[in-house]
């Protein structure tokens, strides 16, 4: 008579321990893979390059902006302010719901939901929750002024030209 080989999974304590260990490892492996897959999808979906307007762009020479000028570049959504020999760039995107604010006597006014800002972009009335952003202005070696919308600066920060 042929003797059956001793079954390996006989339900002995060490066998149960091994099984639990294996199923625990499989579970951790599967969950880990799922998390890594989800994370990599998130990385994938976040664009590394955007195809719209570049955040940093030239706006011209300093002499294009005479003292006291407040010139709104609507396509760039930024207003160039020159006071004396100082230049600054203030965002014209309303902080309420993203409409374009227009230059008004008292500062800026939003046509969509009636927010008003003063000359420095501080909210004076309306639903806007915060002041308009100021962006960094730099002077390139070729004499062009550049605005960098990726670099927000404190309100009142001017570039001397």
């Amino acid at each position: 008579m042929i003797k059956n080989p001793k079954p390996t999974n006989d339900g002995s304590p060490e066998d149960i321990g091994r099984r639990r260990m294996l199923s625990w490892l499989s579970g951790v492996g599967l969950c880990g893979s799922a998390i890594i897959a989800a994370a990599s999808n998130l990385v994938f979906i976040k664009p590394r390059a955007t195809y719209g307007q570049p955040a940093k762009f030239a706006i011209g020479k300093p002499e294009d902006f005479p003292a006291g000028a407040r010139i709104s570049l609507d396509t760039r959504r930024v207003c160039i302010v020159r006071e004396g020999d100082k230049v600054a760039a203030i965002s014209t995107t309303c902080t309420h719901l993203g409409c374009i604010v227009s230059v008004a006597e008292t500062g800026f006014a939003c046509p969509c939901h009636g927010s008003h800002y003063d000359q420095d972009g501080n909210v004076t009335s309306g639903p806007a929750p915060k002041a308009l952003a100021w962006y960094q202005v730099t002077l390139a070696p070729n004499g062009d002024l550049y605005v960098d919308k990726d670099n927000e600066v404190e309100a009142g920060t001017y570039l001397k030209v």
């Binding site: 955007t50 195809y51 719209g52 374009i100 046509p111 969509c112 939901h113 929750p129």
Partner: protein, 445 residues
């Protein structure tokens, strides 16, 4: 002798085309109860339904057919949407021209677009009404808690589907509605800016946003919605059909009778009935349902005893009712699409926002709240409301008043829910009709 003739006629060409027909439809039009059972059971398109359905679930004044209506509107949206895809290009330079082509040159183009637009608005409204129906009849009580949760997600996905579709015509309405809508998303703490960037694929609404919204609208969201709808339906069946009042639950007057009958029946019968009810555990977990003999299509046929049967055959009772809801839904959309054209404004001009710039109507309540407080109106309150909705079946755990409209036992819950619903509807109405330039109060008259 006669058998031989029958066999011969089966093998001869004379059996055509009847044998082809019978190979497709295994059952002839049913004339007996057994036939009605097996027709529902063996037809792929009908087997989603139970063979028999409770009288209470068939009452038009109980459900108003709202869930079905939402499904049929989704079906219209899928069909018209796929047809529109043949002519649409998700490009900022072409999209608007394609809209004009739909209006001017494509055969039935304007009609298809109308159907798609009005069904989309209709679906948002009907899904909301369906949610109100389920709440006001207490139909989210155990064992249906999680199906309510799935329903809340279906509502959110419906909103998001409509929102993503809103951008695609690339007209002023689309551009500024999405600019305003995604700005509201940007108010979320910590993740708001990132969510907005991921959604738009850029800092502002542009080509990337159009492409992303298109992919979400035609591929991602419909697939997710279809999957959740499937689970939603499957759970309705496994939970024993629609919620009904306790006294209607069993076919008999005393709740114990069914269990007793099942015990008296042979073991195979109990198992068969148990399996059909979604539980194989047998008598102990026997669901509160009664089965007449004809309700069981397969398995042994054993007389269970004189139970009072409150169910009707799905064929034709349920199917006629569903067909009626289908015809009403399609007819309504066709009529509205004949008389009203979907709006199409000027092409996008990023320099000139309209005054006022408004989000889609179902988000105007949100926009109205945002005009009071950006964070609380746009993010805080809506998040709390969604969380409350999701937790409803786990907060309200009383088992009384299920399956009845405005049950006395549910006075508090119903009043609270109605208050929230009415406030939101009023906010939407104010935002839609009573807000003009600079978001100032205007009278629509």
């Amino acid at each position: 002798m006669s058998t031989q003739t029958a066999v011969r006629s089966q093998n001869s060409w004379l059996a055509l085309p009847g044998n082809v027909w019978r190979s497709i439809f295994r059952n002839p039009l049913p004339t007996s109860d057994y036939g009605r059972s097996s027709t529902s059971f063996t037809n792929f398109f009908l087997h989603i339904h139970p063979v028999k359905v409770h009288r209470h679930s068939l009452k038009a004044t109980y459900t108003w057919g709202l869930g079905l209506m939402a499904t049929f509107l989704f079906l219209i949206l899928v069909v018209t949407g796929i047809l529109l895809m043949f002519y649409y290009v998700p490009s900022t330079t072409q999209a608007y021209d394609r809209m004009l082509d739909l209006r001017g040159t494509v055969a039935f183009g304007i009609f298809l677009r109308n159907m798609h637009r009005w069904s989309a608005h209709g679906m948002v409204a009907v899904v909301f009404l369906h949610m109100c129906r389920v709440f006001l009849t207490g139909a989210y009580k155990p064992p249906r808690e999680f199906n309510w949760v799935i329903g809340v997600f279906l509502f959110l996905i419906t909103l998001f589907l409509s929102f993503t579709g809103y951008l695609l015509p690339w007209d002023q309405l689309a551009f500024w509605a999405i600019t305003v809508g995604t700005s509201i998303a940007g108010y979320a703490p910590f993740v708001g800016k990132d969510v907005r960037f991921l959604l738009l694929g850029d800092a502002t609404v542009g080509q990337e946003a159009l492409l992303r919204f298109y992919v979400l609208h035609v591929a991602v969201l419909p697939v997710v919605l279809t999957g959740l709808v499937t689970i939603h339906f499957w759970r309705i069946r496994k939970d024993g059909g629609l919620a009904k009042p306790e006294e209607e639950e069993t076919g008999t007057t005393s709740p114990g009778a069914v269990t007793a009958a099942a015990v008296e029946a042979p073991a195979t019968m109990a198992v068969a009935a148990g399996a059909a009810g979604g539980s194989a555990a047998g008598v102990a977990a026997f669901p509160k349902r009664s089965f007449g003999i004809q309700g069981l299509v397969r398995g042994p046929l054993v007389k269970v005893g004189g139970l009072e049967d409150k169910t009707l055959f799905s064929w034709p009772n349920l199917f006629q009712a569903e067909l009626l809801v289908f015809v009403i839904s399609v007819a309504a959309i066709l009529v509205v699409s004949l008389f009203f054209n979907a709006p199409l404004e000027e092409p996008v001009n990023v320099m000139h926002p309209p005054n006022p710039a408004k989000a889609p109507w179902y988000f105007l309540g949100l926009q109205e709240q945002v005009s009071y407080s950006a964070f609380w109106g746009g993010v805080g309150v809506p998040t709390l409301e969604v969380l409350l909705l999701l937790l409803v079946p786990y907060i309200d755990r009383k088992q009384k008043g299920v399956g009845k409209w405005f049950a006395k036992e549910r006075f508090l819950a119903n009043t609270l829910f109605m208050t929230f619903a009415v406030i939101n509807v009023v906010l939407v109405i104010i935002g839609t009709l009573f807000r003009g330039a600079n978001w100032e109060f205007v009278s629509p008259w």
